[in-house]
């Protein structure tokens, strides 16, 4: 009798879950169909045009991924240095690092890109478009990651430092062998997160003429007033890229959060 009731409750709950998921998917379908209808009504889908320009646009994908990858790499290095400065005892290093973070988080990324490309030549520093984009993205994301790395270092429980010290480790050894490896695990998901964001923000470097995805979509659509088609293609590609990399990022996050590497519980 009781047993029966328990099974019934579980069945009912499962049934409600199925209904919810179905409704969820139906709603997605409705939105996508509406979008498609809107596109088909407003423009003629000129398959010749798309066929002609699609390869041109897609050539920007490797450029986008390359810019994002190399920039997240340099950003991580900058952030490591920045975080070291922020947790050091030296007031000078602290000042340098906090100035860096404050300045690059306090000004628009687009302005930073333009500044390097257009303003620095006045000071005799001339960078081509691609390096400009990479430098700007690295500096900007490095500033955000600095704070994340710092909080990662500070998130390692104080008991870890005390245990290391009680074993006679110097501050340096403690930091290098005990704090950094644990902080690294804490911040790895954040790096993945920022990489996905960077995939999209890298489109900003199109303003200086880096021929990445957005630049190519614009270039293809503008002459014949067919930007609707080309920008939609670019949007779709960005969307797919973020879905794919978010998937890997989620897996990474889950891997970091479970298994042997979890911080020990107290009991």
């Amino acid at each position: 009798m009781n047993q029966q009731l328990a099974t019934d409750i579980m069945d009912a709950r499962r049934q409600r879950g199925r209904v919810w998921r179905t409704q969820f998917m139906v709603m997605w379908g409705v939105i996508v169909a509406a979008l498609l209808a809107f596109i088909l009504v407003t423009i003629r889908l000129d398959s010749d045009f798309i066929q002609k320009w699609l390869p041109f646009i897609l050539t920007g994908v490797p450029v986008t991924i390359f810019v994002a990858l190399i920039s997240i790499f340099f950003a991580s290095i900058l952030a490591t240095l920045g975080a070291l400065g922020r947790v050091s005892r030296s007031p000078y290093l602290n000042a340098i690092a906090s100035f860096y973070v404050s300045f690059f988080r306090g000004t628009p990324l687009l302005l930073q890109i333009l500044f390097i490309y257009l303003a620095l030549p006045q000071a005799g520093i001339v960078l081509p478009a691609l390096p400009t984009g990479i430098v700007a993205l690295s500096l900007n994301y490095g500033a955000y990651l600095t704070e994340i790395f710092r909080s990662g270092i500070e998130a390692v429980p104080h008991g870890q430092t005390e245990a290391a010290q009680s074993l006679g480790m110097s501050d340096r050894t403690t930091f290098r062998r005990i704090i950094v490896p644990q902080a690294f695990r804490i911040v790895t998901p954040a790096i993945g997160n920022d990489f996905v964001a960077m995939l999209k923000d890298s489109s900003l470097v199109s303003v200086v003429g880096v021929q990445e995805l957005l630049w190519r979509a614009q270039a293809a659509g503008r002459p014949t007033f067919q930007s609707m088609q080309t920008l939609l293609v670019a949007a779709l590609v960005y969307w797919i890229l973020t879905i794919v990399f978010s998937f890997f990022q989620n897996r990474l996050e889950r891997k970091m959060a479970t298994g042997d590497r979890t911080p020990e519980r107290s009991r």
């Binding site: 005390e162 290391a164 644990q182 979890t262 009991r267």
Partner: protein, 274 residues
């Protein structure tokens, strides 16, 4: 009230301590302020090689603070600590320079510590936890460090957990690993801060057993604990702390079974009633 804090080992029945041996640890007139709160009021302690000393006292009386002052995890506001010939004086006004830090590290090498919350390194395996300091502090070759570590793992009965990570161990096993980790640095004195207080009651026994065997093999230990049975059986001497002072010191059969100070009597009466 004046207290004679040195009980000569010869006076202690059943002690393993060789009569006339010089003390291995001497803490003199330790004071500690947290802000303006005076948490330690001139605490002194003398421990001879092979002794097991327990510190009892109510929560918040300053037991942990005193223990942490012994290895300068907490810098005393005043006082001197000397362990196996390494003498460090409190110098809280000046920033600590490299020479002073090196001296404090030297002191810590003579005093292994076991924490209430274990504080194992979660990113390292059990073996990794044990060999980290021997390799990176004592600069032992890896092979030697592993041999040493395996010996101590066997001693705490966890040889088969060698490659496990701390998160996969029970609390009792974690604390035994923490004890083994402290032992791998071969310290002259072991400091324990309520090593069983974070444990499930069913797991307390295995840790106490390890500690008792260490006491019996003649290790010098200072143990802050609420385990009255351990204090009674394993301790050569009991220090009772109240409000930052040691108010009663002596062998357990005196301090625990026949306390003279009324604060000790009060504490024990409450404790036995609880």
């Amino acid at each position: 009230m004046t207290l004679q804090h040195v009980v000569h080992p010869a006076e202690i029945p059943g002690s393993l301590v060789a009569p006339g041996a010089p003390p291995i640890l001497q803490a003199t007139a330790i004071e500690k302020y947290f802000g303006t709160a005076r948490v330690l009021r001139g605490c002194s302690m003398t421990v001879f090689p092979g002794e097991t000393v327990t510190i009892l006292g109510r929560s918040g009386s300053g037991k942990s603070t005193f223990l942490r002052c012994l290895n300068f995890l907490e810098e005393p506001s005043a006082g001197v600590v000397e362990i196996s010939g390494v003498r460090v004086e409190a110098d809280p006004l000046r920033p600590r320079h490299e020479k002073a830090s090196a001296r404090i590290r030297q002191l810590r090498l003579h005093a292994g510590m076991v924490f209430q919350e274990f504080n194992l390194f979660p990113h390292l395996s059990v073996l990794g936890n044990l060999i980290e300091a021997p390799i990176h502090v004592k600069r032992l070759p890896r092979k030697e460090a592993i041999e040493l570590a395996e010996g101590f793992l066997a001693k705490v009965g966890l040889s088969e957990k060698r490659d496990e990570y701390p998160s996969r161990l029970s609390g009792g096993q974690r604390q035994r690993v923490a004890i083994a980790r402290a032992l791998t640095m071969e310290p002259e004195v072991l400091l324990f801060d309520e090593p069983t207080s974070a444990l499930d009651p069913s797991l307390v026994g295995e840790v106490l057993k390890v500690m008792e065997s260490l006491a019996h093999e003649g290790r010098t230990m200072i143990v802050v604990t609420h385990e009255m049975a351990f204090a009674r059986e394993a301790a050569d001497r009991v220090y009772f702390m109240s409000d930052g002072e040691f108010v009663e010191i002596g062998p357990p059969q005196n301090v625990i079974s026949d306390p003279q100070d009324e604060r000790t009597q009060d504490f024990l009466a409450r404790f036995l009633r609880a």
